[in-house]
């Protein structure tokens, strides 16, 4: 059992102190990344397995780099999303992982609950790197880390999350994470992409993007997937960009110096205009950099924290 439990499935039940511990641990990790030789022996002899049922170069590379910087051995299990429908069961993958003697497993899976299912099956620490529309905790933690770094605090901040909330695991983890740390979370997007019960999660659902942006300290823009339009969930990308896209004019509604973030990859000109994505307020590149630090912290706390059984 690591310092933050056996697994990291989501932020829904994670206490604020534990989130703080992760963020605090990520600070010295970021120092390591800044060094010329980015390697420490902390996790030497430990094995981290990444299992990605969904393509995600960004998150997988981030985890792999994090593991390598801490001197862990990394293995990738190639698993295509199609193999799920072909009947290759997650349980079989779990058996493979157990046979490999992995210390930590990083799982990306297109279905909600997959990480929890795996965590119940294997002894290794399971890190959820995104399961369906459920949670993406390491992304939310890097968002929290980035905001704390930029603003010096999380408590009392106003955080606007804009876009497809329904299908976004990032939005869910962000809602839990930011509200747990004392921030106010506002949500806006097409009504067809706002699932029920968001208020019960502690967020405020706004009737317009403008309302959500008003005096916001943080603006998190979510990726809109073309596929959702094909499913008839909104009428078109052109209208989406006009009604919900974050551009320079809209951003003026936010508090001066508001931080703009995006989990990537971006559709420039649709959910975010190029001048905002590349503008002074954008922390999008720092998010990527911080992602490695936060994931180093997670691997350390889950597998190398000194008191693992």
């Amino acid at each position: 059992m690591g310092l933050i439990g056996k697994d990291l499935i989501g932020l829904r039940d994670m206490p604020a102190e534990r989130i703080k511990l992760i963020l605090d641990t990520a600070v010295p990790m970021k120092e390591i990344i800044r060094r010329q030789i980015k390697k420490v022996p902390t996790l030497r002899g430990r094995t981290v397995v990444t299992v990605f049922y969904e393509a995600s170069t960004r998150t997988r590379t981030s985890f792999e780099l994090a593991a390598k910087y801490l001197s862990a051995d990394t293995v990738t299990i190639a698993a295509a999303a199609s193999s799920v429908s072909k009947g290759e069961s997650l349980k079989d993958t779990a058996r493979t992982i157990a046979a490999m003697g992995a210390d930590a497993v990083v799982l990306r899976h297109p279905m909600a609950g997959a990480a929890e299912l795996l965590a119940r099956t294997v002894d290794a620490a399971v890190i959820n790197a995104g399961d369906g529309a459920h949670e993406h905790p390491s992304q939310a933690l890097l968002d929290l880390f980035t905001v704390r770094e930029k603003k010096g605090r999380l408590e009392g901040l106003k955080v606007a999350i804009i876009g497809d909330i329904m299908h976004s695991r990032v939005a869910r983890s962000d809602i839990w994470g930011f509200t747990r740390m004392g921030a106010e979370v506002r949500l806006a997007g097409p009504a067809t992409l706002l699932p029920p019960g968001l208020e019960k999660m502690g967020a405020r659902v706004c009737s317009s993007v403008e309302e959500a942006l008003m005096d916001a300290d943080v603006v998190i823009v979510l990726r809109i997937q073309l596929e959702r339009q094909q499913q008839g969930l909104f009428p078109g990308l052109r209208e989406y960009a006009r009604l919900f896209g974050i551009n320079r004019e809209r951003l003026r509604l936010a508090a001066p110096g508001a931080v703009v973030m995006h989990p990537g990859p971006m559709n420039r000109g649709i959910e975010i205009s190029p001048e905002v994505a590349d503008g002074l307020q954008s922390a999008i590149n720092e998010q990527v950099n911080n992602g490695v630090a936060v994931r180093m912290a997670l691997l350390y706390l889950l597998t190398g924290g000194g008191c693992r059984k």
Partner: protein
Amino acid sequence: MKLLIKGGTVVDPVAGKIEEKDVFIVDGKIARAGAHVNTAGAEVLDASGKLVVPGLIDMHVHLREPGFEARETIYTGTRAAARGGFTSVACMPNTSPVADNGAVISFIKACGLKGAVNVYPIGAITRGSKGEELAEMGDMKEAGAVAFSDDGMPVMNAGLMRRALQYAGMLGMVVISHCEDKNLSAGGVMHEGYVSTMLGLKGIPASAEEVMVARDILLAEETGSRVHIAHVSTAGSVRLIREAKARGVRVTAEVAPHHFTLTDEAVLGYDTSTKVNPPLRSAGDVAAVREGLADGTIDVIATDHAPHTEEEKDVEYDLAPFGMVGLETAVGLVWTELVAAGVLTPLQAVVKMTLNPARVLGIPKGTLEPGADADITIIDPDLSEPVDPARFASKGRNTPFRGRLLKGLPWATIVGGRVVMQDRVIR
């Protein structure tokens, strides 16, 4: 062959009475019920402290044969029924091949004869349950079908459903409707609400059921035919059915034990045994369903017993098939959740599991009148045990009630005068 059930409390749904008396069975028929029966040479079953009721009828089960014998067979399914206190079951036609013709109905009837309890096949409404053209209902009736349903595959075409009601009505048969608008439920795996949002699972809104309930009520009203709404799960459905009954529409309805017991919160943790269709709903829906049971809006308690193999269910929530087993937990759930909780009186509960389903299906069961088949269930209201799927007679172990302590269990099941289960053990 003579059997005397002695000293029990007889719950008679026809007379609407509960009184202590003996029940005497001769050659598979009920000879008489009363005190001081001359019983020379009879086997005696001491039922003191227990409730003697007409044999329970589950009008909504999936026996999986032909085609899916790894999940259940008519043999194992009827044993599960016997262990659960049921003497008759009506099985849905979503087998392979689909029970959409007289030959498959005859096959099921024939297999049922070797089962532990009476088996009444339900025929498909449309060929292959594809919702495209009517199945040969007349043939199926002659072969022994007792009702028609495309359970699990809602008839989306309203025009076709209207003709099905007209045609079945002509035959004097009931159409059992699985109410689900596939456009509204598409891709959904659980109730749409706070929990589905939290878990990131695609929700099935209450309206997916309710628009179809409303449609079928209107069609039944227009055609004058009988429609039975299967597995009601939402407050809106209960309200629609209540209003329709008040107008005199020939609509009846059933609820499954899991829908009056569990809410969508049971899905937390992604236990695939909670994946059912219709899904486990909100606390408000559960309360409304209970109210519907109490005020008579919901006529029948039926399990929707849907066994699956362990391999099928031991996967990601999205991939798991819908359905949970119900035959062996039904009586315990009814007694623990409804009778002990004061929602239903013992008599009301018995009516909904005997007389009412018999009337909906038009089968000569659900009574203790002299001359009737000696199908009897003896319930021990004080008997309690935790649910242990390892002891199920069903092949299916997919239940979210594992470990739940239930009080009020079937103690004996008698089919045609023969004791098929006693003291929780199948004979």
